[in-house]
C-alpha cells in the first residue's frame, strides 16, 4: 500500500500536470509537486521501515508482475531518491523554469522520481527494465527543453546523446535479461538471486553477464561508455543534473548488483576483471580530465565518472566488503554530486556560464554560504574522512586488495593501487576548483548568496554529507544483510 502510494501519487500528479493542469501557475505547480513528493517521501520512509511487498499480475502473458519490495540494497537508494525528489522540487520554487511550461517541468521531475522509485522497488527483471526506461523521456525533456537556455543545438545534442546512449544500454540489458529469463525460467529477481545461476552453464552465464554488464555500464557510466554524461550534465537544468547524477546513475549500479551479480555470479566472476579494469581506468581518466576541464559542470560530470569507478571496482571484487563499499559509495556519490550540482548550477545561473577560465569573485569572500557548501562538496568529493565520500572509496580499495577467491588477485591488487592513486587526482582537481573559485582576492563582481529554498536544499545535503561521513554505521548495517544474501556468507 505504501509502496503503491509512493509510486502512484507522483505519477498521478505528473499526469494531471501534463493534461489537466497544463496552465497552472508556477506556485501552484510547485505546491502540488511538493505535496506529491513529500507524500512519496513519507511513504518511502514507511516502506523502508515496514518492508511491505506488492505482488500483482500485470502482463500475465509475459509473466510480468508488479512485484515490488524493499530490502537493504534498495532502501538507501529509495530514500535518496525520495529525499532528492523533494529537494529538486523545493529547489525549483524560486526559479521558474525557462523553455517550457512550469507544469511540464514539474511533471518531468515527478516522472523521473516515479521511474527511479519503481526501478528500485522492482523485483521482476522485466519490470525492472520497464521502470528503467521510464525515466528516459522525462529526463530527455528536461535536458532538451529546460536546459541551458543559450544553446539550442547543444541541448539537442546532449539530450539526444543521453537518450540514445542509454537506450542502447538498456536494450542491451534487455537482451541480457531475456536471455537470463529464458535460461532460468523465471524473472523473479529474488528467485534468481537464490538460484545464483545454478543449472546454467558457465559459458552462458558469462554471455548473459557480459550483456547485462555492458548494458548497465552505459548508465553507470563506465569508461569508455561515459561520453554522454558530460554534455548531459552541462546542459541540463540544475534539478535535472541533480537527478541525473544522484538518481539515474545509481540505477545502473543498482542494476549491476541486482542482475548480473546476484543472478549469474559465476558469469559475473568472468566479466568482473574486465569491469574492474574499466572502473580503475575510469577513476584515473575522470580524474585527469577534471584537471584541465574548463567547464565546472563538465568537470563535476567527469568526477562522477571517477567516483563511479570506485563503485564499479567494489562491485567487481566479489566480496561482501566490496559490495558494501559499492552500495555506500553509490549513496555517498548521490548526495555529494547532488550538493555539487545544486551549488554549481546556482553558480552558473548567477555567472551566466560555468567557465573556470573567467575570473570571478571568490566565493569565500562574497558568498559565504555557497562557498561553504562548495568546499564541503569538494572535500567530500576528494574522499575526506568524516565526510560521505571516504568510506566507500576506502572500502572499495580494501575490497580490491582482497578480492574474492575466484578473482585474479594480482590484477585486483594492481587496481587497488591505481584506485588509490586516483584519490590524489581527486584532491588535485577538487583543490584546483577551490583555488580558482572558492579562494582568491577578488570581490567583484558580487553575486547573490544562497537563500531560501536553494539554501534549504543545500543545507539538507550538507548535513547528509556530514552524517554519512561521521556515522556510516546505519547505512552499512542497512545493506549488510542483503549483501550477505547476495554474495553469500564468508567461507
Amino acid at each position: 500500500m505504501v509502496i503503491l502510494t509512493s509510486l502512484v501519487v507522483p505519477a498521478a500528479v505528473a499526469v494531471w500536470l501534463l493534461t489537466g493542469g497544463r496552465t497552472v501557475s508556477h506556485r501552484t505547480a510547485n505546491l502540488l509537486a511538493s505535496v506529491a513528493s513529500v507524500i512519496a517521501l513519507a511513504a518511502v520512509v514507511v516502506a523502508v521501515i515496514v518492508r511491505p511487498t506488492v505482488d500483482r499480475a500485470w502482463v500475465p502473458s509475459l509473466g510480468l508482475r508488479w512485484q515490488l519490495a524493499v530490502d537493504g540494497i534498495s532502501a538507501p537508494l529509495l530514500l535518496l531518491t525520495a529525499i532528492l525528489g523533494v529537494g529538486v522540487v523545493l529547489h525549483t520554487l524560486d526559479r521558474p523554469p525557462k523553455g517550457g511550461t512550469t507544469a511540464a517541468f514539474h511533471a518531468c521531475l515527478l516522472l523521473v522520481e516515479f521511474g527511479a522509485l519503481a526501478t528500485f522497488y522492482a523485483r521482476d527483471a522485466v519490470l525492472f527494465f520497464v521502470a528503467f526506461e521510464l525515466v528516459l523521456v522525462p529526463m530527455w525533456v528536461l535536458i532538451t527543453r529546460f536546459g541551458d537556455a543559450h544553446d539550442a543545438a547543444a541541448r539537442a545534442d546532449a539530450g539526444g546523446r543521453f537518450v540514445l546512449y542509454t537506450a542502447f544500454g538498456s536494450t542491451l540489458m534487455l537482451v541480457g535479461i531475456l536471455a537470463l529469463v529464458a535460461k532460468s525460467g523465471t524473472s523473479d529477481l529474488d528467485v534468481l538471486a537464490q538460484g545464483g545461476g545454478h543449472g546454467i552453464p558457465v559459458g552462458t552465464q558469462t554471455l548473459v553477464a557480459a550483456l547485462l554488464v555492458a548494458g548497465l555500464a552505459v548508465k553507470v557510466p563506465v569508461f569508455p561508455l561515459h561520453t554522454w554524461l558530460p554534455p548531459a550534465h552541462t546542459t541540463a537544468p540544475t534539478a535535472g543534473s541533480v537527478l541525473l547524477a544522484a538518481v539515474l546513475l545509481k540505477m545502473g549500479t543498482y542494476g549491476l548488483v541486482r542482475l548480473p551479480l546476484a543472478s549469474v555470479p559465476d558469469g559475473f566472476a568472468k566479466v568482473a576483471p574486465v569491469l574492474a579494469v574499466l572502473g580503475a581506468i575510469g577513476i584515473i581518466w575522470g580524474g585527469l580530465a577534471c584537471l584541465v576541464e574548463r567547464d565546472l559542470k563538465r568537470l563535476i560530470a567527469y568526477s562522477s565518472v571517477a567516483h563511479m569507478g570506485f563503485v564499479i571496482l567494489g562491485l567487481s571484487s566479489g566480496t561482501r566488503t566490496g559490495l558494501q563499499a559499492a552500495l555506500f559509495a553509490n549513496v555517498a556519490h548521490g548526495v555529494i554530486s547532488a550538493l555539487l550540482f545544486v551549488v554549481v548550477g546556482g553558480l552558473k545561473e548567477r555567472w551566466g556560464s560555468a567557465d573556470l577560465e573567467t575570473a570571478r569573485a571568490a566565493l569565500r569572500e562574497v558568498t559565504p554560504r555557497l562557498g561553504f557548501a562548495l568546499i564541503v562538496g569538494l572535500a567530500a568529493s576528494l574522499g575526506l574522512p568524516g565526510l560521505a565520500g571516504f568510506w566507500g572509496e576506502f572500502l572499495s580499495v580494501y575490497a580490491a586488495w582482497s578480492p574474492a577467491a575466484d578473482r585474479p588477485e594480482g590484477l585486483f591488487r594492481t587496481l587497488a593501487v591505481v584506485a588509490a592513486m586516483g584519490t590524489v587526482l581527486a584532491a588535485a582537481y577538487a583543490l584546483r576548483v577551490a583555488r580558482t573559485v572558492w579562494a582568491g582576492e577578488r570581490t567583484a563582481p558580487p553575486i547573490e548568496d544562497s537563500r531560501d529554498s536553494e539554501w534549504d536544499v543545500i543545507a539538507v545535503l550538507v548535513v547528509a554529507v556530514l552524517l554519512l561521513g561521521i556515522a556510516p554505521g546505519p547505512l552499512l548495517a542497512m545493506t549488510g544483510d542483503a549483501v550477505t544474501t547476495i554474495v553469500g556468507a564468508a567461507p
Partner: protein, 624 residues
C-alpha cells in the same frame, strides 16, 4: 572515568569545531574565541584526567565509540585506547592546542575570519588527538586525513594571497600523494588481520613466535614489508621528509599559530606516533626501516643546512622542524626491537614544547616588528623582556643544550642509534653520524637565530610586549617556557614508556659539538648575520630549498597536466569518436539510402524484389 575522559579528549575539540563553525559568521569574535579557548582548556583538563586515570599502569584500556562497522568481511571496531604513552602525548597535544588557540585569539584579533580559523584549529587538534588515542587503523586514517585537510585550510587561511593558495594546495597535494601509501598500507594490514583494530593487526602481523603453529599462520613477510614501506611513505609525506619535504617550508604562508600547531605537536609528528603504535610490526620489516633511516638521515642534515641559510626566520624554524622530525623518526628506524619506540616518542614530546614555544614567540615578535624576515627581525628581541628569555630557552632546547628537554630527548635518540649500531645495524651508523652532524648544524642555526634576534648592534626598539599581548598569551608562553625547561624530568616518571637511556659518551660528544659549533658561528658572525657571512649570495638558493619546487613542477605537475590534456583529447577524439561516428554513419546511411531510393523507379523496385528472392533463396540453398 577514564573511558569518559578518553572519549571527551577527542570529542571536546570536535564539538568545539562544530560550534565554532556555526559561530564563525558572527561579526563579534568573542563568542568564537571563548568557545575555542575554553574547549581547548577543557581538553587539557580531560587529557590530564586521563593521565591520572591511566596512571602508571601498563594496561591498555580499550574504549568504544560509535558501534563497530561491519563492512562485509572487514570489521572496523572504531575503538579508542588509553595507555600511559597515549595519555601523555594526548596531554602534550592538548596543551599545545590550547596554547595555539590562546595565542591565535590574540594574534588574529583583527582577522575577519578568526572564527573559522579557531574552528579549524579545534578540528585539527581533535584530529591529532584522534590519531593519538585511536586503537583502530581507520580512526588513525581519519585523523590523519582530517589533519591534512585542516592544514590545507589553515595554510590557505589568508587565501587572498596567491602564495598562500599555492602553498596550501601544495601542502595538501604532496601529503595526499604520500597518503596513497598510507591508505594502501592500512588496507594491507587490515586485509591481513580481517580487522582494523590495532591489537588484531599487531597480532596478525607482528613477528612473534606463534605458540601453536596450526592456530595462526605466519605473516607474509613480503606483504608485511610492502605494507610498512607504504605506511612509511605516507609518514614521510606527512612529516615532510625527503623527498616530500618541499611543502613544509612553504606552509609558513599560514598564520603563525597555524604553523605552530602544524609543526609542534600535530601533523608532522603524527607519523612518529603511528609507527610507535605499530612498532612491533615495523621492527620486523627491514625494508621499511631502511627506507625510513635513509630518508630521515638525509632529511635531518639537509634540512639543518637549509635552515641555516634561510633569510626568513619562520622558514628557519620550518626547516628545523624537518630536521627534528627526521631525528625523531630516525630513532624508530634504528632502535633495537626490544628497546621499543620510546626515544622517538620522547623527542616528539619535547619537540612539541620547544617548537610551540619558538613559533609562538616568533609570531609574537613578528607582530611587533612587522615581519619574519631576518632583516626585519634583526634585534627584535631587544625590546621584549618577556619574550627574550622564552626565545632563549627555546633555542637552547632546540640546540640540545643540557638539561633542557630538547637535550634529554635528542640524547635518547642518539642513544637509540648507538644501541642500534651496537646491534650491528648498518643503518644505525648512518643515522648516528647524521645525527651528530645535525647536532652541529642545529647548534649553528640556533646560534645564528639568536644572534640575529638579539643583535646588540641594532637600534633599540621600544618595549611593545607590555601593552600588546594579553594575559593568556603571557601565560601560555610562561607555561611553555617552564615545560621546556623542566620537561626533561619526564624521564624519571613512568609517563613515557622509555626503553632507552642516555648514552653519556655520545651526550658529552654532542655537548662539545654544540658548544663548538655555537662558538664557531659566533666568531664567524662578526657582528653580522652569520648566514650572510657564510652563505652570502647563495641565500636565495637556500630560500627556495635548492630549487626542489621546480623539480616537482617539471617532473610531476607538468607531466600530469600533459597527460590530462592527452586524456581530454583522447576522450573527445577517440572515445567519443565512436559515438559521433555512429551518429554520422546513421545519417550518412540515411542520405545515401535516400539517394539510392531517390528515383524510386518502379522497375528498380522490381529488380530489388527479384534480386531479393534470388539472394534469399541462394542463401537458403547454401545453408540447408
Amino acid at each position: 572515568m577514564s573511558a569518559a575522559a578518553v572519549r571527551l579528549v577527542v570529542l571536546v575539540p570536535t564539538v568545539a569545531a562544530l560550534i565554532g563553525l556555526l559561530l564563525a559568521r558572527r561579526i563579534d569574535p568573542r563568542a568564537a574565541r571563548f568557545v575555542a579557548v575554553g574547549a581547548s582548556l577543557l581538553a587539557v583538563v580531560m587529557a590530564l584526567l586521563q593521565v591520572i586515570a591511566v596512571g602508571g599502569s601498563s594496561r591498555v584500556t580499550i574504549v568504544h565509540t560509535i558501534p563497530a562497522l561491519e563492512a562485509g568481511e572487514l570489521r572496523i571496531p572504531l575503538e579508542l585506547q588509553a595507555t600511559v604513552g597515549t595519555a601523555t602525548i594526548a596531554l602534550v597535544v592538548a596543551i599545545v592546542g590550547w596554547a595555539v588557540q590562546a595565542f591565535a585569539g590574540w594574534y588574529l584579533r583583527e582577522d575577519d575570519r578568526y572564527g573559522i580559523f579557531a574552528a579549524t584549529v579545534s578540528l585539527f587538534t581533535a584530529a591529532m588527538l584522534l590519531v593519538v588515542q585511536s586503537a583502530d587503523l581507520v580512526l588513525t586514517l581519519v585523523g590523519w586525513e582530517v589533519m591534512g585537510w585542516c592544514s590545507y585550510l589553515l595554510i590557505g587561511h589568508w587565501s587572498r594571497n596567491e602564495s598562500a593558495r599555492r602553498a596550501a594546495l601544495k601542502a595538501f597535494l604532496v601529503t595526499r600523494l604520500a597518503d596513497v601509501g598510507f591508505v594502501l598500507g592500512v588496507v594491507i594490514l587490515a586485509a591481513g588481520a580481517g580487522s582494523t583494530a590495532y591489537p588484531q593487526v599487531l597480532q596478525a602481523w607482528a613477528a612473534t613466535d606463534c605458540p601453536d603453529a596450526g592456530a595462526c599462520a605466519a605473516p607474509n613477510a613480503t606483504l608485511r614489508t610492502a605494507a610498512m614501506v607504504l605506511l612509511v611513505i605516507g609518514i614521510l609525506g606527512k612529516s615532510g621528509m625527503v623527498p616530500f619535504h618541499d611543502w613544509l617550508p612553504d606552509a609558513m604562508e599560514g598564520p603563525t599559530p597555524a604553523s605552530a600547531l602544524i609543526h609542534a605537536a600535530t601533523m608532522v609528528a603524527a607519523g612518529t606516533f603511528v609507527i610507535a603504535q605499530l612498532f612491533d610490526v615495523f621492527a620486523a620489516s627491514e625494508g621499511a626501516r631502511w627506507l625510513l633511516a635513509l630518508s630521515t638521515a638525509v632529511t635531518m642534515v639537509y634540512a639543518a643546512v637549509l635552515a641555516f641559510g634561510q633569510s626568513d626566520l619562520k622558514r628557519l624554524l620550518a626547516y628545523s622542524t624537518l630536521s627534528q622530525v627526521a631525528l625523531m623518526l630516525s630513532a624508530l628506524a634504528v632502535a633495537p626491537a626490544d628497546e621499543g619506540p620510546g626515544a622517538g616518542v620522547l623527542h616528539l614530546y619535547s619537540h612539541a614544547f620547544f617548537k610551540a614555544l619558538l613559533f609562538l614567540a616568533i609570531g609574537w615578535l613578528s607582530v611587533t616588528v612587522g615581519g619574519t624576515a631576518a632583516t626585519a627581525m634583526r634585534g627584535g628581541l631587544r625590546g621584549h623582556l618577556f619574550i627574550r628569555p622564552a626565545m632563549f630557552v627555546g633555542l637552547l632546547s632546540l640546540a640540545g643544550v643540557p638539561p633542557l628537554v630538547g637535550f634529554v630527548s635528542k640524547e635518547h635518540v642518539l642513544a637509540a642509534a648507538e644501541a642500534g649500531a651496537a646491534d650491528g645495524q648498518a643503518r644505525a651508523w648512518i643515522v648516528l653520524l647524521a645525527g651528530l652532524l645535525t647536532v652541529v648544524l642545529t647548534a649553528a642555526y640556533c646560534m645564528r637565530a639568536w644572534l640575529v634576534l638579539d643583535d646588540l648592534t641594532a637600534a633599540d626598539i621600544e618595549r611593545h610586549d607590555a601593552d600588546t599581548a594579553t594575559f593568556p598569551v603571557r601565560a601560555l608562553v610562561t607555561v611553555l617556557t617552564i615545560l621546556t625547561l623542566v620537561g626533561g624530568l619526564v624521564v624519571f616518571t613512568p609517563l613515557l614508556d622509555l626503553g632507552g637511556h642516555i648514552g653519556w659518551l655520545v651526550a658529552l660528544l654532542s655537548v662539545l659539538l654544540i658548544v663548538g659549533a655555537g662558538l664557531a658561528v659566533r666568531s664567524l658572525a662578526n657582528g653580522e648575520d652569520p648566514a650572510v657571512q657564510i652563505v652570502g649570495a647563495r641565500m636565495p638558493l637556500f630560500d627556495n630549498g635548492f630549487g626542489v619546487d621546480r623539480l616537482y613542477v617539471d617532473y610531476v605537475a607538468r607531466p600530469v597536466v600533459a597527460l590530462a590534456h592527452l586524456v581530454v583529447f583522447l576522450d573527445r577524439e577517440v572515445v567519443d569518436a565512436y559515438v559521433r561516428g555512429a551518429a554520422a554513419a546513421a545519417s550518412l546511411g540515411g542520405s545515401g539510402g535516400q539517394r539510392a531510393h531517390r528515383a524510386e523507379r518502379a522497375s528498380s523496385g522490381l529488380a530489388w524484389v527479384v534480386a531479393g528472392v534470388v539472394a534469399v533463396a541462394l542463401a537458403g540453398v547454401a545453408l540447408w
